[in-house]
């Protein structure tokens, strides 16, 4: 794409186009080919704003795991374009934590091109202030990709009523023997839970952090640098509550 996208483009409908214009045109997306039988892991920490674009082609019986912490800058976007070959496996664990007037988004396209591949996407977003956090995720299953097993598990937590969360899982399925689970939920911290924590002596900010920590940090499970990711996420959460 050479022309600057507008919000009429589906994949950019919640984006901050002004911020995007400042860094446009984007460099070419990174391409990674995971050979048959191999494993690949990557952690993406987007803490200063900008667009990260990664295309992954996961070979036969290969596995790739991506962990994302999307938390920095006016506008932070992570775009993943994943193609799964026979028996391949893809795991995404993503946390997006935004406050102020940040716009944070993750856009995924996961294509099950061949049979027997599995994909699991776990996304937890937290938005405070007037921030906008979005997930746009498409799972495409090709005609021959029988025995596909895919899951999109997407949740967002709004810290106040001025924040926005968008979640759009999308399925395009041409095979007839597949399992494609998808769930989305957008909610607020349980006030009764917060009162319960307060009644045991935990101050409001610490109580919120504790509940948000529980909400978010599970996405980093299995990451090589899990502890560092949790620490960075907690630091950001601490700034929001």
């Amino acid at each position: 794409m050479t022309a600057l996208p507008s919000r009429k483009d589906e994949a950019w409908r919640y984006s901050n186009i002004d911020a995007l214009a400042r860094i446009w045109p984007l460099p070419a997306a990174e391409n990674v080919i995971v050979p048959a039988g191999a494993t690949f892991a990557r952690t993406i920490v987007q803490d200063a704003g900008g667009v990260v674009q990664l295309a992954l082609s996961i070979g036969k019986n290969a596995a790739a795991a991506i962990h994302v912490l999307n938390s920095g800058g006016d506008y932070g976007r992570v775009e993943l374009n994943v193609t799964l070959h026979e028996g391949a496996d893809f795991t995404l664990g993503c946390a997006q934590i935004g406050g102020g007037d940040q716009t944070l988004e993750i856009i995924t396209t996961v294509t099950h091109a061949e049979p027997g591949a599995t994909s699991r996407q776990l996304v937890r977003s937290v938005a405070g202030g007037t921030a906008t956090v979005s997930y746009l995720g498409k799972v495409a299953v090709a005609r021959d990709a029988q025995q596909t097993d895919s899951e999109q598990d997407i949740k967002a937590m709004l810290l106040n009523r001025s924040a926005t969360a968008n979640a759009k899982p999308e399925l395009e399925i041409y095979a007839d023997d597949v399992k494609c689970a998808h769930g989305c939920a957008i909610g607020e911290l349980d006030p009764m839970g917060l009162f319960y924590l307060a009644a045991r002596g935990i101050a409001p900010a610490a109580a919120k952090t504790l509940m948000l920590q529980a909400f978010v940090t599970g996405v980093f499970e299995g990451a090589a640098d899990e502890d560092a990711l949790i620490e960075a996420a907690l630091k950001k959460l601490g700034e929001l509550v």
């Binding site: 924590l197 307060a198 009644a199 045991r200 002596g201 935990i202 509940m211 920590q213 529980a214």
Partner: protein
């Protein structure tokens, strides 16, 4: 220790407490009984400071402090423990983490040094054992997947670990079978039956009072205490019903 004077409170603009007066001294256990809708749970939430429970008149002093001026977490640090009728589930937060954070937050508030993980676990183990609770349950997320009885037992473990000065226990006996009732009753006696502590026990039924013998029994009806007596009053209520006594 606790002095409630002419307390009025509303929930969503509806007056619930209408001039409640009650005093507890150190070393005493008071039971509050009363029909549904009398304001028993409202009293416990007002004392705990739950948002939405608005005090419109009267005062509450706790160990000489204006309790109502404190935030809920400050009330806890001051030594108030609120036992919930429906303990809340907190997914993803383990009991151990929650309680250590709670205890250390209270200690910090009081200017005491925080407990190390090992010191905390020692206390937690002792309290769990005293209430027949498996340590494994303490490692699980707070109240998630616990039965009604396990939740109430967990409240008592928390009370044991936190060691408050005053416990306000809202229907801690509801949902308990006979054995669990005894365990919880023993827990209340062991933790709170001390010369420098006090308990306000809110209950519908007399049976918990077989295990935790109150010094005073109050009948709460339509937002006020309408009758006060000794333990025998609970037996009378059980025999005759609230309608008769509160009339």
């Amino acid at each position: 220790m606790l002095r409630i004077t002419n307390l009025h409170a509303t929930v969503g603009d509806k007056p619930i407490l209408k001039g409640l007066t009650l005093s507890l001294n150190a070393g005493e256990i008071h039971a509050i009984m009363g029909p549904n809708g009398a304001g028993k749970s409202t009293l416990s939430y007002v004392l705990g400071g739950r948002p939405g429970y608005e005090v419109t008149g009267g005062s509450v002093t706790f160990q000489g402090q204006d309790l109502l001026a404190l935030d809920p977490h400050e009330r806890a640090a001051a030594g108030l423990f609120l036992g919930f009728q429906y303990p809340v589930e907190i997914p993803g937060v383990s009991n151990v983490q929650f309680l250590r954070e709670a205890l250390n937050a209270q200690r910090k508030h009081r200017g005491e040094t925080p407990l190390s993980g090992a010191e905390f676990l020692k206390i937690a183990r002792a309290q769990a054992a005293a209430l027949n609770m498996d340590m494994e349950m303490l490692k699980r997320p707070v109240n998630v997947g616990f039965s009604g009885g396990e939740k109430k037992r967990n409240e008592m473990v928390q009370m044991g670990i936190i060691a408050p000065v005053l416990a306000v226990l809202d229907e801690t006996d509801s949902g308990l079978d006979i054995d669990a009732l005894r365990v919880v009753g023993d827990g209340i006696n062991r933790i709170m039956r001390k010369p420098d502590k006090a308990v306000l026990l809110i209950t519908h039924y007399q049976r918990l009072l077989d295990y935790v013998r109150p010094d005073f029994v109050h009948v709460l009806a339509d937002g006020r205490i309408v009758k006060t007596g000794g333990p025998e009053l609970a037996l009378e209520l059980e025999a005759e019903g609230y309608a008769e006594i509160a009339a």
